[in-house]
């Protein structure tokens, strides 16, 4: 049975098909374009106020940013394996993996809340300077996407729990959105926390 499942999955993996719903991919592309525009505006402002951005960036914690990255990467691993478990008909395993993915997403939200609270407590608020305006805007819009992603994962969990409502396409669609959230963070993290030079 295991070999048969592997063979089926290998054939599925090789076949050309769009995972998830096409409209979700249109949404993903639209979101990527919007975030691309944010990155462009950020880089223009950064080049105009280079020293200010460099000094402000030093107040961000690399450890917190890395923790957030690891949480989202772990979350994506769980969700991606949840999709494979669904395709293999292992719905119970898919449910557990999706729940773990959501738990890591909640962890991301908590770490981000802690980071924002400490920054606001230190007086580094939205109007403090242009860098922090971008910091709160980019991480805030991304955080909204994470929260929306958690709602998506909740819908996936609800469907996986009910044998009459299980749809692999819905699991793939939720996973595609969740991975987009991860993908965007992978670009935001170096932009805000890492890339610095004199």
């Amino acid at each position: 049975v295991a070999n048969a499942t592997e063979a089926v999955e290998t054939r599925q993996a090789r076949a050309i098909h769009l995972p998830a719903d096409g409209s979700m991919w249109v949404f993903v592309l639209g979101d990527l374009v919007i975030f691309g525009a944010y990155f462009l505006i950020f880089m223009i402002c950064r080049n105009q106020e280079h020293q200010l951005f460099l000094d402000s960036q030093r107040h961000l914690s690399l450890n917190i940013g890395t923790a957030n990255t690891l949480l989202l990467l772990a979350s994506s691993w769980f969700v991606a394996n949840g999709v494979h478990a669904t395709r293999a008909g292992e719905y119970r395993r898919a449910l557990v993996l999706t729940l773990w993915g959501g738990a890591c997403g909640v962890g991301f939200v908590l770490v981000k809340a802690y980071e924002w609270t400490s920054k606001i407590g230190a007086g580094l608020t939205f109007p403090h300077n242009d860098f922090y305006m971008f910091y709160y805007m980019l991480t805030g819009i991304h955080l909204f996407h994470v929260l929306l992603g958690l709602v998506f994962l909740g819908v996936v969990v609800a469907e996986l729990r009910d044998p009459d409502k299980r749809r692999p396409s819905m699991v793939e669609t939720g996973a595609t959105y969740w991975h987009m959230v991860d993908l965007l963070w992978v670009m935001i993290f170096p932009l805000l926390y890492l890339v610095s030079w004199r």
Binding site: T5, E6, E9, T10, A13, R14, A15, I16, H17, L18, P19, W25, L29, L32, V33, G36, F39, L40, M43, R46, N47, L62, T66, T69, L70, L73, S76, W77, V79, A80, N81, V83, H84, R87, A88, A175, T176, H179, M180, D182, L183, V186, M187, F189, P190, L191, L194, V195, S196, W197, R198
Partner: protein, 84 residues
Amino acid sequence: MTPGGRQVTAAWGYLLAATALCGWLIETHRGVRWTAVVVTLIASSKVYVIANHFMKLNTAPLVWRAAVGIWLLIATAVVLPGSW
């Protein structure tokens, strides 16, 4: 674990290693110009891996792969000159 699951885990291993490498580069070579460039290129490679192995874009029709690929090239082109 299924072949798809093994592929996902291998991609995840790369993403963790790339994240660790970026963290090490910033800790040891912060403020150096080439570090910013390398970190940006590593971030782009991570996006490529997530798109292809987590989102399964590598099995999608050409038009979707091209659309995301072009976005990644433009996003990298936007960030990279600023890094340099």
